[in-house]
Symmetry: C2
Subunit: 211 residues, 2 copies
C-alpha cells in the first residue's frame, strides 16, 4: 500500500512516530498522537505495529544497522583511513536521519523499561561492536607505529562522543556537509595521533580521502 | 535541619531526586517516589520544593554553575593551556556528580515542557557561554599561530561532544581518574591542533599541566 508521497504506510508511520518521539520523548507520545498526525485510526496503526514499543525497537534496529555499516573496513586501509571512513559514514547517516539518531541516544538510558531483555541485548551488542571497531583501529595504529601511544580505550570513547554527539546539531541542510564535518573531526584527532610529521601535515585522512 | 549523614534534608531530597531522574527519567518519577525513598511524607517534600519542576531547575542551575566554573581563564595561559584546564575542570565535575550530569543531558530535549520560558532561557544562555569559551580559545590559538587553521565552530562542537559525552561512562571510582582522562582527551586533540612540532611532542598540555 503506497501513500501519496510514495512511502509505504508503514514507513510513513515510522517517520511520524520517530519525529514525535524525538521531540516529545517516547514516554510523552501516545499511539493516538501517531494515528492523529498520520491521519489513520488507531486500529490501522496497530495493524502495522502491534505496540508502541515495536516502533521503538524498529527505530533502534535501523539506527544500529546504519551504524554497523559505518564500521566496514577495507583491508587495504591504514588505521587513519579506517578512522576517517568510519567518521564520514557515521556523520552521513546522522545527517540523513537526525531524528532517528536523536531517539536512539535520548531513549538509551530507559530502553530496559520499554524493550524486552532480548531486544536490549541486541541493541547493546551492536553498541559494543562500534566501540570495539574504533578501539581496534586505534590499537592497530599504535602497534604499527602509525599512531602515538595513548589510552586507546579512553580515546575511542572520546571519539565516539565527538562523532555520535553530532546528532544534537548536525542537519542535512546545515552550513557544512556531513563529509566536511567528518574531515574537520578526523583531521583534528588524527593529526593528534599520527607520529609521522609529513603525513600529519600532508594527508592525515589517508589516501582514501582522495584529498 | 541535619539528617544522619550530615546532609541537610533539602540536599538529601535533591540527591535522591537526581538519582531517580537519572535512572527513570523526570517523566517517570513522581514526587511520591522521591518521598518514599527519602522516607518523608509528601507534604514535607513539598515544603522543600513546591513542585517537581523546581527540583529539576535546581539540578540544572547547579550543573550550569559547575560547568561555568570550568570556563575560567587565567590571562597568562596559552590557548592550549586554556583548553586543557577546561577539560580537567569539566571532567572532574562530571566524575563528582555523574547523575546530575546525566539528568542535565538526558532531559535537555524536553526542558521546554517542564521549565518556564525564563528558566529555559537561563539554561540555554549558560550553554552558549561554554560553547563560546571553547570556540574563542580555538580562534585565539589560530590567530596567534599556536594552532593549525580549522573550522573552530565545528571543532568546538566536536570537543564539547567528546568532553560532555563522558557523563555516559565517567565514574568517580573508574580505572582512570578524571584528570587522567582529561589528559588523554586534551593530548589527542591538542596534538592535532598545535603547529609547533617540539611543543606538540613535548608539552601539548602547556605549562599549566605541570607535566
Amino acid at each position: 500500500m503506497q501513500s501519496d508521497n510514495g512511502l509505504s504506510r508503514r514507513e510513513e508511520l515510522l517517520a511520524v512516530a520517530t519525529k514525535l518521539f524525538a521531540t516529545r520523548g517516547y514516554h510523552g507520545t501516545r499511539m493516538d498522537d501517531v494515528a492523529d498526525v498520520v491521519g489513520l485510526n488507531k486500529a490501522t496503526v496497530y495493524h502495522y505495529y502491534a505496540s508502541k514499543s515495536l516502533i521503538l525497537f524498529d527505530i533502534y534496529q535501523r539506527a544500529a544497522e546504519s551504524t554497523l555499516a559505518a564500521v566496514h573496513v577495507d583491508p587495504s586501509w591504514s588505521a587513519r583511513e579506517g578512522l576517517y571512513q568510519y567518521t564520514v559514514r557515521l556523520l552521513t547517516q546522522i545527517a540523513a536521519n537526525p531524528e532517528g539518531a536523536a531517539v536512539y541516544f535520548q531513549e538509551q538510558p530507559y530502553i530496559q523499561e520499554w524493550l524486552t531483555p532480548e531486544q536490549v541485548d541486541e541493541v547493546r551488542a551492536k553498541e559494543v561492536q562500534v566501540y570495539e571497531h574504533l578501539h581496534g583501529l586505534i590499537d592497530r595504529g599504535i602497534a604499527s607505529g602509525e599512531f602515538f601511544d595513548c589510552d586507546s580505550h579512553v580515546v575511542a570513547l572520546g571519539y565516539l562522543g565527538m562523532t555520535m554527539g553530532a546528532y544534537r546539531w548536525l542537519r542535512p541542510s546545515g552550513r557544512r556537509s556531513a563529509v566536511e564535518i567528518a574531515q574537520e573531526f578526523s583531521t583534528a584527532v588524527l593529526r593528534g595521533l599520527i607520529r609521522d610529521e609529513s603525513i600529519r601535515t600532508g594527508s592525515p585522512l589517508g589516501d582514501a580521502a582522495g584529498a
